[in-house]
């Protein structure tokens, strides 16, 4: 059987980094091919080249034996390549049908298109109404828009970039069924992920990238997750160790919390209640966009809530802003590193000042103590192994993992009474993720109440004492993590009842 797509010696360099170095691989029709690697391994650059968003510096691509060099995504789509992005390329204010029309070369009239959307969505078990505004859809539904957009063009190759990171277990199951059906019909799938069990469950072959190079090929079904992980990471990883959690008094409690979202397509929080004890890690799972950002904003003090809804050590936090909360010991780290947790163009020293002023005594009566701030930044850098030439470097010059270590380190070193973090390891390499989780566990061991909001269920199972699910702005009752299995979690996350959950 001839290859559908063959890549030979693709190389792409950016200033200071070789994103892809002599990468070769081939995909046969109907094959589900995994592209496995850590963040920064070069997966995204590789698929951007296939999709015509980036031009390779060297190397060749062949499609069905003929030369293939798409100059832009349209050319790639015309050649039968479809792509579902990790961060969806959707337009919130437009309807599903309009979004899909934008991804097609010659879309039919809207009415015909709507009918075809209904048809495809039924064929592949992806229910979706063409008239709805995309901004109102859940993450899973939004992904369906992208998939249907690709399917309407009868792609020969479908590229999926980290598709399950935003899905509930039930939604993952539906997705895999769709992908298997497509594969059976002869569509090749290039499946990008760093989740090993998923790849073992779904993919026929796998190519593993590390540092921009191909470091191995394997048949996932015949290879253990451990072997793949070692290929991917290049070394064995220490799993975080949790000391026995002696939990104490309730420190932070949230009672019947309801607030509207400040953004147009955000999620309102509805009647949320929970309590966190000293020394405890509470994990809040759920797909991003279900109120995670809003919950963090309420706890950090950015989003005001009514009196009595949030209390810290029995003290009502209503009307107390972020800076005053830090003074009390309630700290937080939001999801978005660049622009929210840190100011991209400002130095690490200045970013240390951003949240450290009150607790670290970096300012006195409004006057700023820069030498002391620099020392604080240097301490974060050394204690959290942040790779940077020094505290005068801009936040945006750091890699995702390093900046995240800085952001988490900045809060952890202030010895908070309560620490709330949102997606602490999102888009972070495995080594940094492990370090961050360990830091959170150590913090809890020291008596801090830690709330971890994350969509990475494995992470939550690993570090939290109790688990609750945030879905559609509502929070389930927290339950002890021990003894919880994937089915139960899936149901807590609001998955459809009665559906068999794929154990992935």
């Amino acid at each position: 059987m001839t290859d559908l797509l063959a890549l030979r010696g693709l190389t792409k360099a950016y200033p200071g980094v070789i994103a892809n170095d002599d990468v070769s691989l081939s995909i046969a029709p109907g094959e589900i091919h995994a592209l496995l690697g850590e963040n920064g391994a070069g997966k995204s650059t590789l698929v951007k080249m296939i999709y015509g968003l980036v031009k390779p510096d060297a190397g060749k691509m062949e499609m069905n034996g003929a030369g293939f060099a798409p100059t832009d995504p349209r050319a790639a789509r015309a050649a039968g390549v479809g792509m579902v992005f990790q961060h969806f390329s959707l337009f919130d204010a437009l309807s599903v049908a309009e979004n899909i029309a934008l991804g097609m070369e010659t879309p039919p009239p809207m009415r015909t298109l709507a009918a075809r959307i209904e048809e495809v969505s039924q064929t592949y078990g992806l229910p979706l109404s063409p008239d709805r505004t995309v901004g109102d859809l859940s993450a899973g539904e939004r992904q369906r828009v992208e998939i249907i957009r690709c399917l309407l063009q009868d792609p020969k190759l479908l590229i999926m970039d980290e598709p399950t990171s935003v899905l509930t277990p039930q939604e993952v199951d539906i997705l895999f069924k769709t992908l298997r059906k497509l594969s059976a019909e002869g569509t090749a799938i290039l499946y990008i992920s760093h989740k090993l069990e998923e790849i073992r469950a779904l993919c026929d072959t796998a190519t593993i990238l590390r540092g921009g190079k191909v470091v191995g090929d394997c048949v996932p079904r015949d290879t253990s997750a451990r072997e793949m992980a070692e290929l991917m990471v290049g070394s064995t990883l220490a799993t975080p160790k949790s000391a026995a959690h002696a939990t104490g008094e309730v420190i932070l409690s949230v009672t019947n919390l309801s607030v509207a979202s400040p953004s147009a397509f955000g999620m309102a929080l509805k009647d949320i209640s929970f309590a966190v004890q000293a020394g405890e890690v509470l994990g809040i799972g759920g797909v991003a966009g279900n109120g995670q950002d809003e919950l963090l904003a309420v706890l950090s003090g950015e989003l005001p809530s009514a009196p009595g809804m949030v209390t810290f050590e029995g003290r009502d936090l209503a009307g107390i802003g972020p800076e005053a909360r830090r003074g009390l010991g309630v700290l937080s780290a939001p999801e978005e590193r660049l622009g929210h947790a840190a100011a991209p163009n400002m130095s690490l020293t200045e970013n240390a000042m951003l949240t450290g002023a009150a607790r670290e005594g970096l300012s006195a009566r409004g006057l700023l103590n820069w030498p002391k701030t620099r020392a604080f930044a240097t301490r974060i850098i050394s204690e959290f192994d942040v790779r940077t030439p020094g505290p005068e470097n801009a936040a945006r010059s750091l890699s995702g993992g390093n900046l995240q270590k800085f952001v988490i380190g900045r809060e952890v070193l202030q010895k908070p009474e309560v620490l709330v973090v949102n997606q602490p390891t999102w888009g972070v390499d495995a080594a940094a993720a492990a370090a961050i989780r360990q830091a959170l566990l150590d913090l809890a061991a020291g008596g801090t109440a830690v709330v971890v909001i994350s969509q990475d269920l494995d992470e939550l199972m690993e570090i939290s004492d109790r688990f609750a699910a945030l879905n559609e702005g509502r929070l389930s009752d927290p339950r002890p993590t021990q003894g919880l299995d994937v089915e139960q979690i899936g149901l807590m996350l609001g998955g459809a009842h009665g559906i068999e959950v794929a154990h992935v």
Partner: protein, 391 residues
């Protein structure tokens, strides 16, 4: 008067010249250039770009003057050399301070707001209202003499400018109204108010029916006279210096200045850090209005002398250029303010000696802002030559 390109008989009047020369060249350059984001802003470029912008403006300004039928070299030396080192420099040098002070005073306030992404572009209006209030406070006591009158006028001018700027400020905080549009609309309102004042309430009763107030230069208690004769050093210059020092300390050493900078760089991060955006809006608009009001008050009580229909000459708008040219940095603004004052004075000389139209100087100033904004890209991006990448 010599004929220029736009003279209607020449037939070439349709040429929107500035752009006709610039645009195609700029666009052509694109075919060979691509931008690469720097890992962090280049400090060297941050200092180099204003200088480069001035040089480019001189070159293209020279082209402009040549097109207008003037000797470009002579025009440029007349504008930049004559006022400081020419025969009559003793007369022009003090002017540098007189024209520079209001520009610096206003630009300092604007820069604080611009840094935080708060766009007060109605300084011209606040300048006018400051002048009206300051002059009004002084004239209310006419002809009584007291040392308290002038301080009172300073206070009134500052308050007037502050209050005028609080209108867009409060509307933005309470209703989310766009401060750019409101502050700008208020310039037109202030201009009408100025006309109404010079024709009505503040009109000189002994002015033989001419519009305009009494001349404050002839009212000792209200006169903002030179502190050292012949230097151009009046109280407005002192106020500008204080404002520069105040802004410098605020931005580098104080938490409020830090809040301003973070808000401009990353508003969400600022909010996360504990900045109250509403309060910051009120502070920035208030302080810039206050300084613009002061500038208007010092102008009306000193160099200009009276409230009249054409009292305002556009300092409030030119100060926007000054703020950007000074890279929103207090010390840079001093240099930029003096440079811009120089173009005003030199422009006047060029107008009388060479017949260079006044509007040419305005174009010249506009050009400077353009080059500055265009070159700014070099601070954050590296330019690579070669055909651009896909998409």
């Amino acid at each position: 008067m010599s004929r220029n390109l736009f003279d209607k008989q020449s037939g070439a009047g349709a040429n929107p010249l500035g752009m006709a020369v610039l645009s195609p060249a700029l666009w052509l350059a694109l075919l060979f250039v691509q931008l690469e984001k720097r890992p962090q802003p280049s400090k060297a470029m941050a200092y180099a770009t204003p200088v480069l912008a001035v040089v480019l403006t001189m070159i293209f300004g020279g082209v402009l003057f040549a097109v207008l039928g003037k000797d470009p070299l002579q025009a440029i030396t007349t504008i930049f050399w004559e006022p400081i080192f020419g025969e009559f420099a003793f007369f022009y040098r003090p002017q540098l301070l007189i024209k520079g002070a209001p520009l610096v005073l206003i630009a300092i306030g604007l820069a604080l707001g611009f840094k935080a992404g708060i766009w007060n572009i109605g300084a011209e209006g606040q300048y006018i209202v400051g002048a009206i209030c300051g002059a009004g406070a002084g004239l209310a006591f006419y002809p009584a003499e007291s040392v308290l009158i002038f301080p009172l006028m300073v206070l009134a001018g500052a308050l007037g400018g502050w209050a005028w700027a609080m209108i867009p400020g409060l509307l933005k905080v309470k209703f989310g109204t766009n401060e750019i549009l409101v502050s700008l609309m208020l310039v037109y309102v202030a201009e009408q108010l100025l006309a109404s004042m010079s024709l009505g309430l503040l009109k000189n009763p002994e002015g033989f029916g001419f519009p305009g107030s009494r001349n404050l230069q002839q009212y000792p208690s209200a006169h903002n006279a030179e502190i050292i004769t012949g230097t151009g050093m009046h109280w407005g210059v002192v106020a500008a210096l204080i404002a520069v020092i105040f802004a410098y300390v605020l931005l580098t050493r104080h938490s409020l200045g830090f809040a301003i900078r973070v808000t401009g760089e990353a508003p969400r991060a600022a909010k996360f850090g504990g900045v109250n955006p509403g309060r910051l809006v009120l502070f920035c608009l208030g302080i810039s209005g206050l300084l613009a009001g002061l500038a208007g008050m010092f102008e009306v009580s000193g160099p200009s002398g009276q409230i009249s229909i054409d009292f305002n000459v556009g300092y409030g708008f030119t100060a926007i250029i000054v703020a950007f040219l000074g890279r929103l940095n207090p010390l840079g603004i001093v240099a930029a303010g003096l440079l811009m004052a120089l173009t005003y004075i030199g422009g006047d000389i060029a107008q009388s000696q060479l017949g260079l139209p006044a509007a040419a100087i305005q174009v010249f100033q506009g050009m400077l802002l353009f080059f500055l904004l265009a070159l700014d890209v070099l601070t954050n991006y590296r330019v690579r030559f070669g055909k651009g990448e896909t998409a």
